[in-house]
Amino acid sequence: MVLQTAEAPCSCMEASENSQSFLKAYRWMLLARLVEEKIASLYRGGKIFGGVFVSKGQEALSVAIGSSLRKGDIFAPLIRDQAGRLAFGEPLLDCLRTYLGSRLGPMRGRDGNVHRGRPKEGMLPMISHLGAMIPAVAGCLMARRFRGIEGTVGATCIGDGGTSTGAFHEAMNLAAVERLPLVMVVANNQYAYSTPNSRQFVCRDLVDKAAGYGIEGHSVDATDLGACLKTLGQAVDRARAGHGPQLVIGSLLRLAGHGEHDDAHYVDPALKESALGRDCLKVAEQHILSSKWAAESTLLDWNEEAQKQIDDAVALTIREPLPDPNQEDWCALATRHLSEG
């Protein structure tokens, strides 16, 4: 049956803390990779309306932030955060239900694909407008402070392209002024849709923006899960310890199209062959094997388990009721009696 996201999917050979969390993270990455492959195949089969956006190559960075947070923290994932969502606690079913429009999903068919979340549980549902989630996370953290709740960290993710938005700037500055425990994770995947970094920014390194906000910055090779876990763990710790907002720049290459409709023909072949072009999942796998943290057969078992979990979830979702316009409550307001509907 469906794996509960609260439990750690780990049964590793060695018990060192590092290897434990590495393996746990690896399994979320694997699950993310496989579920996105499944969704992409459903898309190709015409089963999904609208776009499909996968995070191939970004799982290490995403899982690292998702698993560095803890229950009670705030997380606003973005387009390519399937792994982080799972690690933070989003049920796998939420993903499928939202993509497939199930009435039982958190968005009930009203919103789709990556636009899902559970705000009551600290996971904000992104709106499409890039940068818009950052001030919202800042506001969540202000609320915690007003309410006297200590020790919360809020994290959110964006791409290289999203750093060009005014929303990013205003929110980072506001968070800095308020010294909020906000971790801003930037996946510098070299492209914003088809636009290469050279047309997006010309600073030496995106981490140079940190000084302009008076906040701490971190850079990490985002093809390396170990490095991601370490860096994001530190950033979250520092935020939690009161050192204010943390800007983390993870460098990698988007290993898929912008969406499944896009063949990414424009990606520079030199980048693909560079260190940035490594597949973080493969790199993690190699690391596990060479460290002898798990045997190849174990990895195969995990793959199978994950696949099974996905198949079960798809089988379940596909039988669920779709939204029905006649049963739909066409009312945008919470205050029903003020609705003009």
Partner: protein, 320 residues
């Protein structure tokens, strides 16, 4: 005597006192008490709950949304309504869609110092209510009296949905009342500001007073003009409007905003479709002119409707 502006301050003081979830955020609202002094002394009276914001309207509104998700009830002051264009995306796409998308309400109140004053010019005079009313998921209040400014702002804070609170700058000092109300009409109900039987003016905010002055002028000519104060334009109280038109048979809708679309179009559209048979003459509308709001008082006084142009328009209507 208490002014419209003081009523807004008092409502915020009461909201802060009554509900620990309330805080105020906006440029210069803290120690300074706001550009118009609508938060005067509140930072002192409620330490840590009235905060100065950077010049970042998008982030200000975005942060309010996050805070609302986490159980707070922020009151946001835009320094002028006109600057809400910079926070527009967060208002219409984030705050307004939250409840419908997630079933989690987004109780934020956004105060927009609205409308024209002499010398305000194109960027400190706008009436943006129709923009916000167009988007699903928002409530748009347009109080025209000291009492409503007070009670509707309290209601705005209590309501679970995002409320765009259009307070009129011209009324800030011009309007005074004896005391603050203890009871109030609920939002969503329009008020008959003056009873009449020959024709109905439907209007809101500062134009209520120009319309009342026009009605007074026309009373001297023997006409009894009914003036309806909509109070909120979303929801818009069609029933009260239709009931009035049923009595008078004639409708003039007056608004201070730009002429294309806007509140007056919505009123005429509703009355034409739902109260067609009640009309004895073609309904009319009077809006500002289709240019930016001019700076010089000579131009401004002609750009927006006034008692004089309202009564002229009404005489045309009564002639039909």
């Amino acid at each position: 005597m208490i002014t419209y502006l003081e009523a807004i301050r008092e409502a915020q003081a009461k909201a802060l006192a009554d509900d620990p979830r309330v805080y105020i955020y906006g440029q210069d609202v803290g120690q300074f008490g706001g550009a118009f002094k609508a938060t005067k002394n509140l930072a002192q009276e409620f330490p840590g709950r009235v905060l100065d914001a950077p010049i970042s309207e998008d982030a200000i509104i975005g942060s309010a949304i996050g805070a609302a998700i986490e159980g707070m009830r922020p009151i946001i002051e835009m320094q002028f309504a006109d600057f809400s264009t910079v926070g527009f995306n967060q208002i219409v796409n984030h705050a307004a869609t939250m409840n419908w998308r997630t079933q989690l309400p987004c109780p934020i109140t956004i105060r927009l110092p609205s409308g024209g004053t002499a010398g305000g010019g194109p960027f400190h005079s706008q009436s943006m209510e129709a923009l916000y009313a167009h988007y699903p998921g928002l409530i748009v209040m347009t109080p025209a009296t000291v009492e409503d400014a007070y009670s509707m702002l309290l209601e705005a804070v209590a309501i679970d949905d995002p409320v765009i609170f259009c307070e009129h700058k011209y009324l800030y000092y011009h309007l005074k009342a004896e005391s603050l109300p203890t009871e109030a009409m609920p939002t969503g109900k329009a008020r008959v500001a003056r009873a009449g039987r020959d024709a109905t003016i439907v209007t809101y905010s500062a134009m209520v007073h120009e319309s009342l002055a026009a009605a007074e002028e026309l009373a001297g000519e023997g006409w009894e003009i009914e003036v309806i104060d909509l109070r909120s334009i979303k929801p818009l109280d069609t029933d009260t409007v239709l009931a009035s038109v049923a009595r008078t048979g004639r409708l003039l809708a007056v608004g201070e905003a730009f002429p294309w679309g806007g509140v007056t179009a919505e009123i005429l559209a509703r009355v034409a479709s739902e109260g067609y048979d009640l009309l004895d003459a073609p309904p009319r509308r009077l809006n500002a002119k289709d240019t930016p709001v001019p700076y010089h008082p000579n131009l401004w006084g002609t750009h927006r409707p006034t008692a004089r142009t309202i009564s002229a328009e009404m005489r045309e209507l009564l002639r039909r």
